[in-house]
Amino acid sequence: MNTLEFTSLVCVGSFVAGLLGSLTGLGGGVVLVPLLTLFFKVDIRYAIGASLVSVIATSSGAAAAYVKEGFSNIRIGMFLEIATTFGALAGAFLATRIPTSAITIVFGVMLLYSAYLSRRPRSQAERNLPMNELATKLKMNGSFPEAGGIRHYNVQNVPTGFGLMFGAGTLSGLLGIGSGAVKVLAMDQAMKIPFKVSTTTSNFMIGVTAAASVGVYLSRGYVDPGLSMPVMLGVLIGSFLGSKILVEAETKWLRIIFSVVIAVLGFQMLYQGIMGRI
């Protein structure tokens, strides 16, 4: 394959990943590394570098749109970014020291987990929770506009959420993904933050988390301009288009199809990693 063909194909693949990721809300980043390693035979280290770059692009692009709607909570985001950035550094540190087959196996498990998570019904956030002392001290409780007026919420279990966020950051730094799924889990399940607030705040945090590990990847020579260029541009255009076309009815089927794709890629990565081929 010559450079023009390779660039075009990678760009189209990344475009589809970004489009589907944005339409389904599952994030395109998670399928990029398997796409590059399994189909384009790219070394997983280059793939992770390119994926991290595109994660920053989509997160910043989406956050720019969300942040203005007033759902995201800047204080929750900033406090938890302490955990995710330290985690991301730890992940990037790990990535340069463990064999690529181990990274591939972790990636496979992460994909299967994401597929499982996407099939689970979203839990209804409990309302009117009591004020939590630590969360109040950290000024995390907030409010957001809702159909019936302004809705207030009280954040819970800050230490658990903080710990989970460190894990999310480590996964992000190790695998080059946004790990939005784990971030939403920490905020949704542990900290009892309403879904709209947790998804938008998570998106907001992904860019900073990825930036914390991408510096390490850049200086280690994992970020290749020729590969990152089509990935970044493709994902960016795809996810931008995905955010513009909101087809509610078809999203349900798309989610099912996309989660099956994620699961299949997960098994593939697991297999390749265990066989030591990647």
Partner: protein, 128 residues
């Protein structure tokens, strides 16, 4: 009073939204420009990322990337665009330090500075 504070946060959020948008668009433009130069020159070359070699020094350090970009090398310009992209969240955190300072929220100025320190360490600390 509570509403007033909320509006303050909202204005901060609006500014951050614009900052992120401009950063991403600028980065994407620079990367696209570099892509044209790169593909124009090398489109016939075989493409192979099977084996990991690591990038040369000039694509790994900020000074090297700047040198390559100012020499108008396609790949150098792409890499420079990617660095602009990586700088966007950092600019957002720097702005947040200022915003929390304006709100006299010392605790969050502290938290934000910790995040900023981690980010700068990632880019400037080569010991990891």
């Amino acid at each position: 009073m509570e509403w007033l504070k909320h509006w303050d946060d909202q204005r901060t959020e609006n500014f951050i939204g614009n900052l992120l948008r401009v950063g991403v668009m600028l980065a994407a433009s620079v990367v696209s420009f570099g892509a044209i130069l790169f593909l124009h020159k090398y489109w016939r070359m075989p493409s192979d990322y099977r084996a990991f070699h690591g990038e040369p020094e000039n694509f790994r350090t900020l000074s090297g990337i700047f040198h390559e970009a100012t020499a108008l090398h396609g790949r150098g310009i792409i890499q420079f665009g990617l660095v602009l992209l990586m700088a966007t969240p950092i600019a957002r955190v720097i702005f947040s330090v200022w915003a929390f300072t304006a709100e006299r929220d010392r605790m969050y100025v502290g938290f934000t500075l910790i995040v900023l320190a981690v980010l700068l360490y990632s880019f400037l600390g080569t010991g990891i």
